[in-house]
Symmetry: C2
Subunit: 335 residues, 2 copies
DNA sequence: CTGAAAGCGCTTACAG
DNA sequence: CTGAAAGCGCTTACAG
C-alpha cells in the first residue's frame, strides 16, 4: 500500500500538496494536479481512511442502529430491506458508508459509545418497538440522528414516518363510502408510534364520519400474524360483529383473513378488511389484500437527506422538522 | 472526548500502560490495572478506533458487498435480512462490525479499494447473480473473504451455500415416492450457483430413479414470480404435461401456482409443485407450498465462523473448505 | 511490570 | 500556489 509520502516523493511535491489535490483540488495548479493524479493512478495510491478520520474527526460513516433481536422486542420493521437499499444508495451519493453497529456490552451509553469511538458523522435509528434507553439517549446527544417510525426529536435529531393518522383516515373513508357503519380495528402496540397513531387516526376519522365506535371494536395485536388471527376471532364472536375491520398491519391482516376463512365466512361478503403497509404478500394472498401503502423507498431517501442536511449545517442549527410520508390506498379484493 | 494521554495523566501512569490495560491486561499489575479502569470509567474514556486502526492496521470491521441494484442484476437474495441478522450477531460476539460498502466509482477494483482504504479485516459477498469482476477480484486478493451462494474460492476465500443438488434430489425422491413419473422443472438462471446446481441435482436424481426427462420438461426462470408463472403456462400447454414440477425458487413457485389456478386446474390434484427456499410466503399462500427449506441463519453464522477462522490464521494458511448447508423438505399442500 | 520514543498516514494552519 | 511542521490518538518494540 503506497502512502501519501511515497506518492509525494514519486512526483516531487510535498505531502501537503498531494493531500490538497485530493481534498481541495481547486487550490492547486492544474499542472501539478494532473501530475499528482497521474502518479496516483500509476502507483495505485489510496488514501487511508483511518488516518483521515484521525486527522479530521470525520469518518464519512453513518451508524445504523437496528436491534436485530426482534423476537424479544416484539417488532420487526416490515420494510427493513427496502429501507436499507434506499438508505445505502442515497448515502453513497454523498460518499457516506453505513456501519451496522455491533451491540457491545449493555448499558444506556451503548450506542453513543460506538458513535464516539468511530467518529461517526451521524446515525439512523430503526424502531424496534422497545423503549431502549440506549436508543433514546442518542436523540439528546450532539450527533446528527434520524429515527425511523420513532417520534424522536432533539437538538440534532429528527424522524421520518408515514402519515399513519392520515392513512387510517383513508381506510375509514373508503370503508364508509362502501357503506360500512360497523367498523372495528385491530390496532398495533400502543407503545409504537405507528401503532398509536393509526389507532388515534382511526378513532378521529370514525368520529368525523359520525360513526360510533363501541369499545369492543378496538382490539390489539403485536403486528405479527398470529395476533391478528386471534383478534379477528374475538371480533367475529361479538353479538354484533363488525362488517369491516381496519387492521393496523398487513401481517396481522393476513392472520385476520385466515380467521375469517376458518370461521367459514367469506371476504369481503361477510367482512371487509383493510390492512396497512402493502407488504409483498398483500398482492399475492387471495383475494388480494386491500391496504394502505407506505412509501418504502421514501423512508430511506428522506432519512438520508435529513441526515446530510444536518451534517452540513453548523452544530447549533435547528434540526429539520419531522418528515411525514404520504400513504395511499391500494384496492384489492378484501374491501 | 478524553484521550489516552489525559487518562494517563489522570492516574499517573504512562500512555503505554493505559494502552496495555485495554489491550493486554494480563501483563499489567492488578493494582495499576484497577486504578486505570476506575479512572477510565470515571472520566468516560473511550479508545479512538481510527487511531487504533491506524496503528495496528486492523479495523475490526468486515465489509459487506451486496449489490442493492437487484433490478438490473436480476436476483435478490431471498433471505438477505435473516442473513444480515445472523451475520451481525455472530460477528458481534467477536467485536467485529459490519460495514456496508457504498458503491463508489466503478471499475473492477471498486470493492478492493474500499477494503484497502478502510483496512477491513475481511469481507462477505452476497451473490447478486451477476458476474461482477469487482466481486470476483476479491477472491484472488489476500483478504479473508467468504461468498454466499457464489462458488468462489481463493487463497483466503471460501463460500457457503446450501446443498442445492441434494435439495433437488430430496424433491425428486419425494415426488417419485408419491407416484409421479412425469416430473418437470422450472430452473433458475444457469449463471447462478443455486440455479445451476438445483438443475443438475434434479437431472441426476431423475436419472437415478430411472425417470426420463424430456427436454421440454426443462424450463427456465429468473427466480422472480412472473417468470415462474410464464414457465408453468408453457408446461401446461405441452401435449403431455407433467404431473409434478420442481420449481427452483419459491417466488417462481408462487407464480407457477397462479398459472395453474388461472388455467382452471387444481393443486395438487392436477399438478403437484415443490419449491425451494421456504420463504415466509410459502406457509401462507393456500394450499401451502411444499418446498425445500434452507438453513437461513446457518448462512450468516457459517460465514462469520469461516471469516473469523481466516482472520485468526496466518495469511498463508489454506482457506477453510466450502461450507454446504443441509436442506430439508417441508410438506405442505402443493405436493 | 512500566516508561520514553518512534511511528501509523493523513490534514491544516502558518509562512512564504 | 506550495512546503515545513505540528498534530490527530493510539500501539509497540526497546530498555530498564
Amino acid at each position: 500500500m503506497a502512502t501519501i509520502r511515497e506518492l509525494a516523493r514519486h512526483c516531487g511535491v510535498s505531502v501537503a500538496t498531494v493531500s490538497r489535490v485530493f481534498n481541495t483540488p481547486e487550490v492547486v495548479s492544474q499542472a501539478t494536479r494532473q501530475k499528482v493524479e497521474a502518479a496516483a493512478a500509476e502507483i495505485g495510491y489510496l488514501p487511508n481512511e483511518s488516518a483521515r478520520t484521525l486527522a479530521t474527526k470525520k469518518s464519512n460513516m453513518i451508524g445504523l442502529v437496528w436491534d436485530t433481536d426482534h423476537r424479544s422486542t416484539g417488532w420487526r420493521h416490515p420494510f427493513l430491506q427496502e429501507i436499507l437499499v434506499a438508505l445505502k444508495s442515497a448515502l453513497s451519493a454523498h460518499g457516506l458508508h453505513l456501519l451496522l453497529l455491533a451491540s457491545g456490552p449493555d448499558g444506556p451509553e451503548r450506542h453513543l459509545r460506538s458513535v464516539r469511538r468511530h467518529n461517526l458523522d451521524g446515525v439512523v435509528l430503526i424502531d424496534n418497538g422497545s423503549r431502549d434507553p440506549a436508543v433514546l439517549g442518542l436523540a439528546d446527544a450532539d450527533i446528527p440522528c434520524v429515527a425511523l417510525d420513532l417520534p424522536l426529536t432533539g437538538p440534532r435529531c429528527t424522524h421520518v414516518t408515514s402519515d399513519n393518522r392520515g392513512g387510517a383516515a383513508q381506510a375509514v373513508a373508503y370503508l364508509h363510502k362502501r357503506g360500512h357503519r360497523r367498523i372495528a380495528t385491530i390496532a398495533g402496540p400502543a407503545r409504537t408510534g405507528p401503532g398509536a397513531d393509526r389507532l388515534s387516526g382511526f378513532r378521529d376519522a370514525l368520529a368525523a364520519h359520525n360513526v360510533p365506535l363501541p369499545p369492543e371494536y378496538v382490539t390489539h395485536g403485536d403486528f405479527y400474524l398470529a395476533s391478528g388471527r386471534a383478534a379477528m376471532r374475538e371480533l367475529l364472536l361479538l353479538d354484533t360483529p363488525p362488517t369491516a375491520v381496519f387492521v393496523a398491519g398487513d401481517e396481522m391482516a393476513v392472520g385476520a383473513l385466515q380467521a375469517v376463512t376458518e370461521a367459514g365466512l367469506r371476504i369481503p361478503a361477510h367482512v371487509s378488511i383493510v390492512g396497512f403497509d402493502d407488504i409483498e404478500l398483500a398482492a399475492l394472498i387471495p383475494p388480494g389484500l386491500t391496504t394502505i401503502a407506505q412509501d418504502r423507498a421514501g423512508f430511506g431517501t428522506a432519512a438520508a437527506e435529513a441526515l446530510i442536511a444536518m451534517i452540513q449545517s453548523p452544530a447549533d442549527a435547528p434540526a429539520p422538522p419531522p418528515i411525514i410520508l404520504p400513504t395511499s390506498l391500494v384496492r384489492r379484493g378484501t374491501a
